[in-house]
């Protein structure tokens, strides 16, 4: 997937670039409003990640500009302010999602995947990984074509793993993904563990393989070994 990262903080934009490249995306970085406009007019991106606070302009204006140029790519807003107004405005003028800093890369990756899925495969919302097939339209999961009954959280977790295949996902990012960051759950790591365990069990009962590896000290990795 071809992505444009519009973020004025060099260090952060480089990290995002590095991570998304590891994910197999083709990335370009724009540090300013104008650079972003230039790059977006020359190229076609599948998704543009826009920081709201840019030195020479507002990210929201950039989105308006992109939309008026009939850009078809998805737009994900990054913002230091978890401001509801910004979020609502952003979504109203055509952004697909909104992510507040600081974020986990796993989360960013999941959001980008979800945006691209929505934009690209219209009507074909299916993720397949070996024997696992997920239909994101009706939220059904099949293993070896057998329907798997998952709870909402287990389903979200599987989708999260799918979006971050072969990457280490921290327990913190899973907690934030599943419960949102307004909620402060302390012993939630045990719950993550239990959810992961249950999910793994359910897949294996349907004769799926065990893809979820526990990574000591960090969290988990969904890997085809």
């Amino acid at each position: 997937m071809k992505l444009l990262i519009v973020e004025d903080d060099r260090s952060l934009s480089r990290s995002i670039n590095d991570y998304l490249k590891m994910e197999g995306h083709v990335c370009e970085v724009a540090l300013t409003f104008h650079e972003a406009i230039n790059k977006a007019s020359d190229n076609k991106y599948d998704c543009i990640i826009v920081d709201i606070g840019l030195p020479d302009g507002n990210g929201l204006d950039l989105i308006r500009e992109l939309k008026s140029n009939k850009s078809t790519g998805g737009i994900l807003i990054l913002s230091a302010k978890s401001s509801l107004d910004d979020k609502l405005t952003g979504l109203k003028i055509g952004a697909d999602d909104y992510l507040t800093k600081p974020f986990h890369f796993a989360e960013l990756s999941a959001r980008i995947n979800s945006i691209c899925r929505r934009n690209k495969f219209l009507g074909l919302n299916e993720i397949t990984f070996n024997e696992i097939r997920i239909n994101t339209d009706d939220n059904q999961v099949y293993v070896n074509d057998k329907l798997l009954t998952l709870t909402k959280k287990e389903y979200d977790l599987l989708l999260f793993f799918m979006a971050n295949r072969n990457r280490i996902i921290t327990k913190e990012s899973i907690v934030e993904h599943l419960w949102g960051d307004d909620v402060i759950l302390t012993d939630s790591f045990d719950f993550v563990y239990t959810h992961v365990k249950n999910l793994r069990k359910k897949i294996m009962v349907s004769e799926g393989r065990n893809y979820i590896k526990c990574i000591y000290g960090f969290g988990y990795k969904f890997i085809d070994s």
């Binding site: 600081p102 890369f105 921290t170 960051d181 307004d182 302390t186 960090f218």
Partner: protein, 422 residues
């Protein structure tokens, strides 16, 4: 003690002292005047009798004079000339009592050197009665004077201090968050004018400081987000590297934990600022019961895991007019606490009636004062993952909508009571 009461009290005390002293002095003076008068009349009478004896050697007819009792004795031998005036009591057989008298004793010699003694008595009972009457009148006079002056003093003081009380009252209702000025009353008393000026300057300075501090905090909280994002992104990248050794893993893990904590803290603070700044101003009618049901669903698996039994006791939909985001944050924070601090096999009871929303849950004993639970950064547990902001966010939201939130703890049962309607 109120200033008015205190000043009246002192006034009363000092006036009574002054009046007692004045009264005693007046009484003694009057008494002395009366005695002088008596003594003068005794001496005058004595002189008349003495003159007559010394000139004519006859005892005058003293029946008519002054109403004194006079005794004169003529002797055949000479006496030393001697005079004194004294008080005495004389027995009165009619009333079987002693009556006070004042008398003059005079001994002298006539022309023929024959001694004589004059004793003149003046009954004091009438004078004493007069004195007594005077004392009573005086007492009433003083007493009414006292009452009148207290009243006047009180009225004047009340009038004088009125601007002061108004100022104090307005100052005590000063709300640093509302941008309203103090609006102190005009006064022609210089000192109160100064006081008002001081109040005015102080509150203006306080508000400026407060706004500066708030702005600083908000900016700081927002500015921290990007560096935090950088740290988090770098650790995320670091983690993905192959062949990390155990030490590096443990280092990255610590950095990751600390970053998460900092993030939670910052997130909570930003939430509080946003509530304070009324960012969430849009209101609509919301059912707290409905929100609770949705929120409970979010914790469904966790509660299943901890074997927490949930009991709903809904007598009311608990409809309130508030911001939907804040309502969710409010309920979610309360429930998250109820789940977090619960014990395995415990329970959560959600009760709704027409005024209250009560969440009761089993849990571990509380080792701190429930009063300070609502303060920022106060933690009920030593868990580093908790920022200690949850309940102060709850309080902030409750305050915003004039709701009362109270916490009680008894025998491992925790109860949060939210009065959402008056």
């Amino acid at each position: 003690m109120k200033l008015l009461t205190k000043s009246t009290y002192y006034f009363l005390l000092l006036s009574i002292l002054a009046m007692i002293a004045g009264g005693v002095f007046l009484y003694l003076t009057i008494k002395r005047v009366i005695y002088e008068q008596i003594d003068n009349s005794l001496i005058t009478e004595k002189t008349i009798i003495q003159d007559q004896i010394e000139q004519t050697d006859t005892i005058p007819d003293f029946e008519a004079s002054f109403g004194h009792q006079i005794e004169v004795k003529l002797l055949n031998y000479p006496l030393r000339k001697y005079q004194f005036i004294k008080d005495t009591d004389i027995y009165d057989s009619k009333s079987d009592s002693f009556n006070p008298f004042r008398y003059i004793f005079y001994s002298g010699n006539s022309v023929e050197m024959k001694g004589y003694i004059i004793t003149i008595f003046q009954a004091l009972s009438e004078k004493d009665e007069l004195l007594q009457d005077l004392a009573i009148y005086m007492f009433f006079l003083f007493f009414s004077l006292l009452l009148i002056s207290i009243l006047i003093n009180y009225l004047i003081a009340r009038k004088l201090w009125r601007p002061f009380y108004i100022s104090v009252n307005r100052a005590s209702r000063f709300d640093i968050q509302s941008g309203k000025p103090l609006d102190l009353p005009e006064t022609d008393i210089k000192e109160f004018g100064q006081l008002n000026e001081v109040f005015d300057n102080m509150t203006r300075k306080m508000r400026n400081d407060y706004l500066n501090l708030k702005e600083f905090n908000e900016n700081a909280a927002h500015e921290i987000q990007t560096p935090l994002a950088v740290i988090r992104s770098k650790t995320d990248l670091l983690m993905q590297q192959k062949n990390l050794n155990k030490d590096s893993i443990s280092l990255i893990k610590s950095i990751n934990e600390a970053t998460t904590r900092l993030f939670k803290l910052n997130h909570g603070l930003l939430m509080i600022y946003k509530i304070e700044n009324q960012i969430f101003h849009e209101k609509k009618i919301i059912s707290l019961k409905h929100i609770t049901e949705i929120s409970l669903d979010n914790y469904k698996e966790i509660m299943l895991l901890k074997k927490i039994n949930v009991e709903m006791e809904a007598m009311d939909e608990a409809l309130v007019e508030m911001n939907s985001v804040l309502a969710e944050v409010l309920i979610s924070n309360l429930l998250s606490n109820a789940v977090r601090f619960n014990v395995d096999g415990g329970f959560i009871k959600c009760h709704f009636d027409d005024r209250y929303l009560i969440f009761t849950n089993s849990g571990l004993p509380l080792n701190i004062d429930p009063e300070i639970l609502f303060r920022r950064f106060h933690k009920g547990s030593d868990n580093p993952q908790s920022a200690g902001l949850g309940l102060s966010i709850v309080k902030k939201i409750a305050d915003t909508y004039g709701m009362m939130v109270t916490y009680t703890y008894l025998d491992n049962i925790h109860e949060i009571k939210l009065q959402y309607r008056h």
